[in-house]
């Protein structure tokens, strides 16, 4: 007598090869794990970002310093020009720059005329030479 269909087992009558599920899980994981290499590229750039910020900050500081030194030692009449202390200079001109970061870096980076001429393009070109993907750079800007 034909069973009513609700009496028929709802266990699947289909078979799979031995160890199929272990194999397919392994295949899936290996074909999707390539994402991690892209993540690493981005991570490298993110690690560099603080140093870039420091480099940009120092470039600004050196440019400003050079400018002020040039003004103060220009040989023209200095009478009436106010003296400016380092603290006043810091308070008035370096509000947007992380002073602690600059102080920490001051001992490690030699002021160099090359920094004065470094532009954003120069920094980006440098990063590209360091094998950072250009699209990753633009994503961060």
């Amino acid at each position: 007598m034909m069973k009513e269909f609700k009496d028929i087992s709802n266990k699947s009558p289909f078979k799979v090869p031995d160890n199929y599920f272990e194999e397919v899980k392994r295949k899936i994981i290996s074909s999707t794990s390539g994402y991690s290499s892209v993540t690493k590229k981005i991570s490298s750039f993110r690690k560099l970002r603080p140093y870039l910020a420091v480099a940009a900050s120092i470039a600004v500081l050196v440019i400003l310093s050079y400018t002020f030194i040039h003004i103060f030692s220009s040989g023209k009449d200095k009478t009436g020009l106010p003296e400016i202390t380092l603290n006043e200079f810091s308070d008035n001109y370096l509000n947007d720059i992380d002073i602690l970061t600059l102080e920490q870096s001051a001992g490690t980076i030699e002021p160099d005329m090359a920094w004065i001429e470094m532009t954003s393009k120069d920094i980006i070109d440098y990063l590209v030479l360091e094998n950072i993907d250009i699209n990753d750079i633009y994503e961060q800007l």
Partner: protein, 181 residues
């Protein structure tokens, strides 16, 4: 994030380590999704392809997944679409007709190797294959996966009322086919 969501551990892990989180997704769902797909596409090779495509698709979109949704219904929706893609491709290149599972499984190596059902199960599978495609999905999700209509509504983007009616009619048709041969 729902408090009682059984996948809360996956959501937390995806936030901190997306690779480990995804591995947990694969671990938890590969078997369930395989059987759902297999019941639709029948052939093991097709099910294998659809399953892998499902997880690759899920991986590509894991960044867009919002954990207010359910991982369960999201994955089932992807798996269902992958299955339909394979079925549609097969319909266009119909070298094998799967309308009659009985003779297919009796007459082919694939059939005899990968089907282990008794006569009653063969007749049930045959009857299910006679249903229209969408109704077959509804029937399978309810009968074999015991999915709620609310979850099914999210998987198939169809109203609960329509799904209930569809399942009710599917049961009637299958009973009729099995009873009348």
């Amino acid at each position: 994030m729902e408090r009682n969501n059984p996948d809360n551990d996956i959501f937390e892990l995806l936030k901190t380590d997306v690779n480990k989180g995804f591995r947990l997704v694969v671990e938890r769902y590969s078997s369930k999704l395989y059987w759902h797909i297999r019941r639709l596409v029948i052939l093991h090779e097709d099910a294998d392809d659809a399953l892998q495509n499902t997880f690759i698709n899920a991986w590509r979109n894991i960044g867009n997944f919002r954990n207010e949704s359910s991982m369960y219904t999201w994955l089932y929706a992807i798996a269902t679409n992958e299955s339909l893609t394979i079925i549609n491709k097969r319909t266009k290149n119909a070298a094998v007709s799967l309308d009659d599972l009985g003779s297919y499984f009796a007459n082919s190596h694939e059939g005899s190797t990968w089907f282990d059902g008794d006569e009653a199960q063969t007749r049930l599978q045959n009857a299910i294959l006679q249903l229209p495609e969408k109704q077959r999905i509804v029937f399978n999700l309810k009968y074999f996966d015991d999915m709620t209509y609310e979850d099914m509504s999210k998987v198939l983007n169809t109203s609960v009322g329509a799904l209930k009616a569809s399942y009710h009619h599917a049961v009637k048709k299958i009973e009729n086919i099995i009873t009348n041969g």
